[in-house]
Amino acid sequence: MTKAELVEKVANQINLTKKQTEVVVNTVFSSITDSLAEGKKVELRGFGSFRIRQRNARVGRNPKSGQKVDVPSKKVPFFKAGKELRELVDENIAEQENQES
């Protein structure tokens, strides 16, 4: 599912214009981005949480030339699925596969 498809589905389901829904969807993801950029984690019950993970500096290698390059330490966004989402994903698919076989 792409963002355009998500916008379309939300708009149909709750009777909003596509334009308004686009603002809604963009705002959801930009507010998560902004919050993490400010160092505030985001917790969404039933879905999961977004946090920052610190990656240490390391010496990497250019895979083509084999040359060493210093990769500085950095912060990356990290998503941890909540219990409800974890169970949904694991069980639904397990069931589908059982039905197919």
Binding site: M1, L6, T33, E38, Q96
Partner: protein, 96 residues
């Protein structure tokens, strides 16, 4: 930040009542869950991609007792952050 904070922002930016904004945010989350529940990835440019990945069974260890235990094969959600999200976090001053 919690869902309530997101709802407040959506309400003001999209000029929706709080109730409508809440319905909209819940619907966004539900639809993402539903898609992942069917094993279908959710691809959001700039922000990132949610994907379901199959993990094969492996032998793990209880970190407390050191006992070995088999971890069964399972499906897990993986999030790969987009370039814009990554940059915003790396350049931001905070840590969580």
């Amino acid at each position: 930040m919690t869902k309530q904070d997101i709802i407040n922002q959506v309400s003001s930016r999209a000029s929706l009542s709080r109730a409508k904004a809440e319905e909209a945010v819940e619907t966004v989350i539900e639809l993402i869950k539903e898609s992942l529940g069917h094993g279908e990835p959710v691809i959001l440019r700039r922000f990132g991609t949610f994907q379901v990945r199959a993990k094969s069974k492996r032998v793990g260890r209880n970190p407390k007792t050191g006992e070995e235990a088999e971890i069964s094969a399972r499906k897990v959600v993986r999030f790969k952050s987009g370039k814009f999200f990554k940059q915003a976090v790396d350049e931001g001053e905070g840590t969580t």
